[in-house]
Symmetry: C2
Subunit: 667 residues, 2 copies
């Protein structure tokens, strides 16, 4: 391990306690040997390249920070070409560079939008240029006044049959494109979403490829006002990204720059549906959200790695062999940290399952089987909401678990939080998504008994009769380690909450009004359903063979911690629906405590299994070798304020104060 070279390992004693095969766990975490090796290689490649150093990032002014990121991006592109990296490798390299940049949108949104919504001809024309980065693109959907509600977008694309062009226009201030990453300063092109208007008639919102800047001198083209929308949360964080504002004043583009895979506008201005099913677009949403769930497991595991290592290093109060107690040995610390460790593993397992789901959906779509789409859509929407909310809160919790030092940028945690939280809002606001799940659940409940086949994550509702009356059989704490008991408790809770909502809804004469009034409860029911999915998928995974000594035992303990800590947090749900009794709740708590003790000696190894380099963690507190304090001390002196002993401003502002000369000074 890089961090070990040349230094003592202050966590060696912890590592000696490990009761499982860490290398095997690394492969499990990565999702396979190939995945492990490629990620490991890319991580080391980035960590060992001085161009990718992260020092000072939090201290730079906006312009320096941005320019620094441009430099890293260009260097990354150079290395990707020199080393002839595959797409998978290149994407991992960018991930380990670990700085939001315009390339994220170019590769992650611009190219996929053309691939998904462009005709074959359009793909042939635009993709090669995009792949070579001869053009740089972004994804311009949201507007100053319109985020979640895509159908409310105001930008117009009016077809002019005389010239065979679309006129792209921003009719109001609130119609300015707002937020697209890479737009503000870099992108030469954008996929712009606008209301299609032909012959005075509206045809909904569609995507158009619009060139924004000259390829010669990078100046905005006529009719285009474009700029950066200003500083965002955090020091470095997303401020290395040029999220932008874009205003169109009747900008003309050729007709063939409308993305026409699904809908076409003819030379005459006629709107024609193609024979490609619209549902394909939902397939893309399933994909994007799978990636987000995967990223949640990355971000949460990173925070947990830092907090776990520092909790083993830090000592406070108490006495262990004459020294203060390691804070990781406090039960309050364990009860906050270990559920997050378990969640990181849970989300990783769910993300891997979603990869399978996406493959399954895609195959079905190609066979024109749309039957599983609503369930897959609800499931991914819900899991995106659940995992990003837990991760955002979890990173902040990890920061607090590091005490005061977590507040320093050198801990790595403030940056991680600030850069992560937008995930709760982008690609579907988390509450809006839960309400979409709730609608799906209400529809499912309404159809219960209709004989309709329920498959996938909603299959349990087919056993409604049983679940409405089932009784939890737990009589002693260990009974809670039975997977069937856990699944049934979660299924019963979820179903009963949905059924209660459905009953309440039925008392409204206007169902939409009822849905509005009961939103908060509906969101609760949706969350319960999503938590059930995570618990089930974790438990299902535990039915498989998992190589490596002791690996499965650790995962089983984490699975128990995940399920029982969710149960504890949402105890009100389980009790009020009568799924479990107060005594059974208390027994679950007993088992949870003993699982904490079981995981404790393995905690460091369980975060080592994430295989994160010190470069990637970028945290004085999360160092592999645990040698925290000299690093914190060293980092402090790098601050620009320490460039001079006497600070700039002393003579103007401090000295006159001390010398009682402020009244006469010319402040």
């Amino acid at each position: 391990m890089e961090a070990l070279e040349g230094g003592a390992d202050y966590l060696a004693d912890e590592r000696k306690k490990t009761q499982f095969d860490v290398d095997a766990m690394k492969i499990f975490w990565a999702g396979g040997r190939h995945e492990f090796q490629i990620a490991d290689r890319m991580a080391r490649l980035v960590a060992s390249d001085p161009e990718f150093k992260k020092d000072h990032r939090a201290m730079l002014g906006r312009k320096e920070l941005f320019k620094n990121t441009l430099r890293k991006t260009a260097h990354a592109w150079k290395r990707i070409n020199e080393l002839r990296l595959t797409e998978e490798e290149a994407s991992l390299l960018r991930f380990f560079v670990d700085e939001p940049a315009f390339t994220d949108l170019h590769w992650g949104m611009f190219i996929p939008a053309i691939k998904g919504q462009g005709t074959e001809e359009q793909q042939k024309k635009w993709l090669p240029m995009a792949y070579r980065m001869q053009i740089i693109g972004c994804y311009a959907q949201t507007e100053l006044g319109h985020g979640s509600n895509v159908q409310g977008l105001e930008t117009t694309a009016t077809f002019d049959p005389e010239t065979d062009e679309f006129i792209i226009n921003s009719p109001t201030l609130t119609s300015c494109k707002w937020w697209p990453g890479g737009l503000g300063k870099v992108s030469t092109h954008a996929v712009v979403y606008a209301r299609l208007i032909t012959d005075g008639e509206e045809h909904g919102v569609h995507g158009f490829i619009v060139q924004l800047r000259s390829l010669d001198d990078h100046l905005p083209l006529p009719g285009i006002t474009v700029g950066d929308i200003g500083m965002k949360f955090g020091n470095g964080a997303y401020n290395s990204m040029d999220n932008g504002v874009l205003r169109f004043d009747h900008v003309r583009i050729p007709r063939d720059q409308m993305l026409m895979r699904v809908l076409q506008v003819t030379r005459e201005g006629k709107v024609v549906q193609s024979n490609i099913p619209r549902q394909l677009i939902y397939g893309t949403m399933v994909y994007v959200r799978q990636v987000i769930v995967y990223d949640a497991s990355r971000a949460l595991s990173r925070a947990v790695c830092i907090a776990t290592r520092y909790s083993a290093v830090r000592r406070q109060f108490g006495s262990q062999n004459g020294r203060e107690t390691q804070v990781i040995d406090y039960k309050t610390q364990q009860s906050r940290l270990f559920p997050l460790l378990a969640s990181a593993y849970a989300f990783r397992i769910v993300a891997n399952w979603l990869t399978w789901l996406y493959k399954d959906v895609t195959e079905r779509l190609q066979a024109k089987d749309f039957s599983t789409l609503p369930e897959a859509h609800a499931c991914t929407a819900g899991l995106k909401s659940l995992t990003t909310s837990v991760t955002a809160d979890g990173i902040e919790e990890c920061r607090k678990l590091c005490g005061g030092h977590g507040y320093l940028c050198s801990s790595g945690l403030p940056e991680l939080f600030a850069v992560y939280v937008p995930a709760c809002t982008y690609e579907g606001d988390n509450i809006v998504l839960l309400l979409q799940v709730a609608r799906f659940l209400m529809k499912t409940v309404a159809e219960l008994g209709s004989g309709k086949q329920l498959a996938g994550t909603i299959a349990y509702m087919g056993r409604a009769e049983h679940l409405m009356q089932s009784c939890c059989s737990v009589q002693k704490a260990e009974d809670w380690s039975n997977p069937d008991v856990i699944v049934e408790a979660f299924e019963a809770r979820s179903l009963r909450m949905s059924v209660t909502c459905a009953k309440s809804l039925s008392q409204f004469s206007n169902p939409e009004e009822g849905f509005q009034e009961l939103q908060a409860d509906l969101a609760g029911a949706a969350l319960a359903h999503c938590q059930l999915i995570v618990v089930s998928k974790f438990l299902e995974k535990m039915q498989e063979d998992i190589p490596g000594e002791g690996v499965k035992q650790q995962l089983q303990a984490l699975c128990g911690i995940y399920a029982l800590s969710v149960l504890k947090k949402h105890l009100g749900d389980f009790l009020s629906t009568g799924c479990i009794s107060p005594t059974q709740a208390s027994l679950a708590n007993d088992l949870l405590r003993s699982l904490f003790s079981q995981v404790r000696p393995n905690a460091i190894a369980l975060v080592d299994a994430f295989n994160y380099t010190d470069h990637f963690l970028a945290s004085a507190l999360g160092r592999y070798d645990g040698n925290v304090y000299p690093k914190l001390y060293e980092e402090a002196w790098k601050d620009p304020l320490n460039e001079s002993v006497v600070p700039d401003g002393y003579h103007e502002y401090i000295r006159p104060m001390l010398k009682q000369q402020l009244r006469s000074s010319r402040l």
Copy 2:
């Protein structure tokens, strides 16, 4: 209102709906007419002074930001002197300047430490210089390796009888003073906490006045290494403060610079207890924590004000008279926002009650009555923990309630969050404090039935027999508006949780081991006790006459929202202890929803009552006039990245990429 001048009021329709006397509510919120007037005057004074403008704060590099704060601090001191402001006024002026600075520590910690722990002679010598700012002081307690556990500090102060001096020393790296605000670059003096050693014997940790920098040229004195500890969370936030690191290499100070009010070291090196009771120091802790609770109500109300106004401006989905629906009309929005609005009012009421408590404790201490001290101490420790945790989470929730735009610094919310969160850690880590409360509760439960008189916030435990068996009488939703019903449910829940913990503890042969093992549950019981205090104090206040039409009705609705949303959030506690039934929980939820509807038309007026200027809010989203979007747009263009159309770095990094020249370039 300043914000109204020269502009339309986009929230006028909202304000027309108001059903209470906003001016009267302003006075209630401020705590009296005098308090309102003085705060209003200081807020306007700061808002109207161009020197105190907040523009660009988030965009400055560290050095510029720091220098800018020095400038504001000096200007504030100049104005304070010119206008001959009282201490109360000066403190409010500094508050509205709204930028953490060394003066916070000088006035808030250095001077109080000398006042509280210095002898009369020492006060006479040091305070006049400090009051005139001829010296600037900070409070150097925490160390790199030691935070919460003050008794674990490593810095030593060894008495040298030969020279009549103390030798202050940092024996290890982890003994460096670390975190003190104002230390890094500004303070000339510090109150330094160190282990007192005389004649080879240790006498615990005490405070010493140590000069750090020359009053002539501001250079650190011999033996002193001092600097800034580097960037912290957020853009501006606490980075305007020079939190510092300080290392002593055998620095000598005269004996009379030990703060000797409670403990004295004689010329011969003898340690003598004075006749001043040590408990006086706890009185100071009660004071400091009362201030923190008050600040929580300030910070939370500020975030709620921004989120509420923007929720009324922002429209998304749905349809209201042909326009999209105001997001404040969504129940999910209300169910997240209104409990925070209610919490802001609740914390203000509790803070005002704590002012009384501090006065009461002080009077008793002066009369050598220490009987109420443990309860007062537990109560303030717990309320500090509760209110700061809710406020930190609440600010972040308000940010999320503003959708994507909340992530922009121009929303004011990222800064507010970053600047607020340390409150969860400083002056007692929130979990450590809850465990202190838990210890007090366990002691109280153990003494139940011993005939010991229980007073104050713990009095309800005297009715243990009744509360262990009481049944909640609620039969319909409105029954939950009965104060007695609410208090009894909260009392029963708190008592039963404590009693359950006590029972579990009694099964351990080693009580300390049991306390460690059950920490998480104990913290839960402590939290329940603290929530009871807030609910009780809010309800008690509602027994008083409150002037102003409709004011009391609004407060009663908020009180109900506070209590019932806490009940909803912690439903597991109430159900598992059998304090209420699932049906009663569901009825509480029904009443909660109807209280949301009751508060909805008054929401804007309820945040207007905080009387915050647009300058103070510093939020494009929270503007008094609701004219949000032009302001967001305007703010965007101020970003340094927008100084040039083509960004710095284009020629080096973007153009070569677009022109396929990266391989040949000299990157």
